[in-house]
Symmetry: C2
Subunit: 374 residues, 2 copies
DNA sequence: ACGGTTCCCGCAATCGTTCCCGGGAACGCG
DNA sequence: CGCGTTCCCGGGAACGATTGCGGGAACCGT
């Protein structure tokens, strides 16, 4: 569109192999060159003085404005080089009203799932000149809201959110106050909030998984997943229900929505297995839950695949390298982050409207699923 | 000399191309606080006008300056509340010369090791009011340098670095140019660069691991670890050498320093095992390397613990839940990040001197280590 | 009553940019 | 020669805060 936002026009870096010390460009400086650093960065004002032109001219040269003669450009650029001038980002931000930075709120960066999303997002943002601010909400809706406000006060240009709760009123209220564009990651909020979103369609993967288990003969299946106040938890339960509804076999389903923590995975698995008619297959809705489930199974001396069939969500090295390898409902998490960033940039730069992008999920069968022993 | 625009009191009629709606939200308009429309954020100027005091007084009230009467404070605070004023972070940053933000450069956030470090650092920084900017260098020294310069131009107050290389001249040069304090995470640079550091003492863990393997009877041990241009790689090799030197048994050591990627782990393991006198034990120097090693072992049909003993570094769920569980040289990575942030804050706020903090490593034996079959 | 404090408050100068405006110089044309 | 264009450039007002300085008013002591 009309606004090219490239702050660097003449700002060449050129840190060539000159003396590493001081480089105090001005001869009349009079400062102690002995100090290894502490050289205050030059301002546009100083460049203007050295080139003997007006500040505005320096600005024009550097921003590629047409009203600049060749002679002028020469003089300014020479001064810029000699002073090693580079524009002050803060002043530019203040003046232009944009910070070229986006805030990312997520539950916990140490979760590989989130980390990969961040990885994808950061790469895209970086290549567009944006930088990424990160805050962990520790799965606490109150912290979510707090961080969003914090980012807002920091004047980020946009935000990417992976909320702890889609229903918490305080969170919703806070989101609605946000000025810049917002992109949700695998979350859904009411349309009137005007947020973009990149979500996974969790149904195909989950449906295939359930079909697979039923085909193998399982008639009692437990689904341990995250909170129903988050999209993945809801959709997974719905998908499983849908399959069981349309299959003729009568299958006992045990739904155990809770949280995404290892502790909950452990507890939920324990609870499911303690039942008098214990499930012959368990679906764990996330890598953290999987860890908990595996601990419980190990604890009880139950072998994966033979005693209990197991499916997990989101591929991690553990699921592939486990013995036996664990069937997985997988998705491209890095792409999830990438698309989130692209949606955000689209609204930031391209002026796009809020939009929801849907990404696929696939079921990958592995030996952890086998016919139940009867 | 141009048209002198008459200094009419109150008439802030800037010829700055802003929307016509600017600055008109004063006096009579202030009642619609609940408008859903994009309500421009109030400035200190507007607060001052509403309270009918000088801007400087507003600033004094808000910053807790002593020269403020009770009446003044009242009026200002009322206006602040009515306008829902909150200070502009950018303007404050520009004026104060600090951004309350720190940059973190690391190889790859999707590595759980790094992610946990970031988790710890972010929590500490957050509680001090700082925010964290994140950039992935993808293990590329050139990107390291580039990101450091980028952060520098963004005027972060300090930086936390987990460099790809401790020896790359360009990186060193760039680090030496950094104005604010720098904290290294598990890396070491020449003292004259003035960087703080939090590092692990990798020797005790590694020494115990090697001792354990030798005690079990292993006489040919392979160490697959990262680049020797990074502290962990160097120290681990040294530690292993030290143990073998002081033990009377003659042990064949195969050192395979390379990188921390899964691909390298896979290749290095393949190479080690292809040897005519193949090692009976392998030490993998990181969670990514472990994955590669496990893939190769699986590929060759070698069972962990029985055919080949295995030790890994940095505990991850995989090592605990693997069958058999994998012995680990562990350390507290979250604490690593926490301490890094504390070191940085100490220099930022407390005015501390650069310092190096050393954290321990421990060896946790598990069934993946067993006597070699002879 | 008067000099000296103390207590507050406003003025105005920054911080480092961006960008609108007005105007000088050079040029073209009738 | 006068006038309209075009091309550049400098001046200066923002952006939104912080802060040193100066001075008016009240207060105090003698």
């Amino acid at each position: 569109m009309g606004a090219p936002n490239d702050p660097r026009a003449g700002g060449r870096e050129g840190h060539d192999g000159h003396g590493p010390a001081s480089t105090s460009a001005r001869a009349l400086d009079g400062s102690h060159a002995a100090g290894t650093a502490a050289r205050r960065r030059a301002s546009m004002r100083e460049v203007a003085d050295m080139a003997d032109v007006a500040i505005s001219s320096v600005s024009r040269v550097l921003s590629g404005h047409p009203d600049v003669s060749t002679a002028m450009r020469e003089r300014v650029l020479t001064a810029v080089r000699r002073l090693e001038y580079e524009p002050d980002f803060l002043a530019q931000s203040l003046r232009r009203g944009q910070t070229l930075s986006v805030g990312f709120v997520l539950a916990d960066i140490s979760n590989p799932l989130m980390a990969e999303i961040v990885l994808g997002a950061e790469a895209v943002l970086r290549s567009a000149g944006y930088s990424l601010l990160l805050m962990n909400s520790e799965n606490d809706a109150a912290l979510d809201a707090q961080h969003i406000r914090f980012f807002q006060s920091r004047r980020v240009d946009g935000m990417i959110l992976s909320l702890a709760s889609e229903t918490d009123p305080a969170t919703l209220d806070t989101v609605s106050q946000v000025e810049g564009p917002v992109v949700l990651v695998d979350r859904q909020l009411p349309d009137h909030l005007g947020a973009s979103a990149v979500i996974n369609d969790h149904r195909p993967g989950m449906e295939a998984a359930v079909e697979h288990l039923v085909d193998l003969g399982h008639r009692r299946i437990a689904l341990i997943t995250g909170s129903p106040s988050q999209l993945p938890g809801r959709e997974r339960m719905e998908a499983m229900r849908a399959v069981l509804r349309r299959r003729s076999e009568s299958v006992d389903a045990v739904y155990l929505p809770g949280s995404f923590s290892t502790e909950y995975g452990e507890a939920a698995a324990r609870q499911a297995l303690a039942s008098d008619r214990r499930p012959t297959a368990i679906i764990a809705g996330g890598n953290q839950l999987l860890i908990g489930v595996l601990r419980t199974l190990q604890d009880r001396g139950l072998r994966v695949g033979t005693d209990v069939s197991l499916v997990t969500c989101d591929d991690v090295p553990l699921s592939e390298l486990h013995e036996p390898p664990i069937a997985t409902i997988e998705r491209d998490t890095v792409a999830l982050g990438r698309v989130a960033a692209e949606l955000l940039l689209g609204r930031l730069i391209g002026g796009d409207e809020p939009r929801t992008e849907v990404m696929p999920t696939r079921f990958v069968p592995r030996p952890s699923c086998a016919p139940p022993v009867s």
